[in-house]
Assembly symmetry: C2
Homo-oligomer: 204 residues x 2
DNA sequence: ACCTGAACACCGTTCAAGT
DNA sequence: ACCTGAACACCGTTCAAGT
């Protein structure tokens, strides 16, 4: 039932994922879906649960930093496995299903055992989760966009800018190759983890 | 023209902002809008430009950290000034208009002058910008949701969870009062800036 | 328990035609 | 230069009715 929705998502993307198309795929009329599912929002929540299901929790024997890092990379991998997966998570709002709650529990557990206060744990957990989700959403959007237009055009919008008005933008963005998503992800994770580690050490 | 769209956004929110309603507000038929505006996407881009227009750039005499921090708080202030503003920025994609490009240029300039490499500047700039936008989007969503349901219910979803399955989640999330958006924002900014500062010092 | 027909109240967008 | 009428191809959702 929800598996069909996931297949459809991979085929057509989130924007074209409609109740009517899903019904068609199931050889059913659209009205019938409302017996299986309360809402489209509800469907998205179920979809988010399904996407996130195969996530491997990190090895609890590792230091907290390595665990958080591993979970970040694993989450990125999971979200890249389905089309628009990160957008589905964002669109389906706060986690309510067991799979997503479990992941929150895992990351909060790592942070608490590392010595963060409960409040800092909650803040840091949301910060990390938001970073990963947004990052992958952007990464996927850029990849889609690069697939539509030719990749030269993607570069050239920077070159089109008036150089005297945006010198720093051009200097910095000019270094981006577009194929450096992993490096950018590592950068973000490092900055966040360094910031969190510093905070932890200071509080002791 | 776009001012009417901004008014409508404040009145009804992004989800209900349709071309047809906007036309009605202008005492016009929907088809006429397509003379003034190419697309709905184009309209959203113009809207994003308009929202961001009154942003005050930080004092260039300040240390880089203070400038970035000031710009972060200013951006949050600007985005909270209009309903669903953060979502509009996210929905309208990468910045193309002069106002948003100017802000990117400002933040990149601060980072470059602080001594970051061009690549690190681009990474850090996106990271900071994404953090602020996403944070405000979430903050606004939570505030909306709290306005709809009574605020007790917002607390109780945590209390409803089976305590044996999610001990860390409950311990950490239980400390959140819902009215601590500013504190959470400060936390995120501090973590990011600490991480960035460490990276800058290491590279020298 | 599961599905359908038919309807309601919407969308974004195009295009020939009007003034 | 700016607007309209009419249409096209869609949406999510409800609800009585069928089996």
């Amino acid at each position: 039932v929800v598996q069909a929705a996931l297949d459809l998502l991979d085929e057509v993307g989130l924007d074209a994922l409609s109740m009517r198309r899903l019904a068609e795929k199931l050889s059913i009329k659209a009205a019938s879906l409302y017996w299986h599912v309360r809402d489209k929002d509800h469907l998205l929540a179920l979809l988010a649960e399904e996407i996130v299901a195969p996530t491997q929790p990190p090895d609890p024997a590792l230091p907290w930093r390595d665990q958080i890092e591993a979970l970040g990379w694993e989450t990125r991998r999971i979200l890249l496995a389905h089309r628009d997966a990160a957008r589905v998570l964002a669109a389906s709002g706060a986690p309510t299903g067991p799979n997503r709650l479990r992941l929150v529990e895992v990351s909060f557990g790592v942070l608490m055992r590392a010595g963060f206060t409960p409040a800092d744990t909650a803040f840091a957990g949301y910060l990390l989760n938001d970073f990963v989700t947004l990052f992958v959403a952007e990464e996927a959007a850029l990849a889609d966009q690069a697939r539509e237009t030719d990749s030269e055009a993607a570069h050239n919008w920077v070159a089109m800018l008036p150089a005297d008005q945006y010198p720093n933008l051009i200097a910095a963005a000019g270094t981006l190759t577009g194929a450096d998503a992993e490096e950018r992800f590592r950068f973000g994770m490092e900055v966040l983890l360094d910031g969190l580690e510093l905070r932890l050490n200071r509080s002791r």
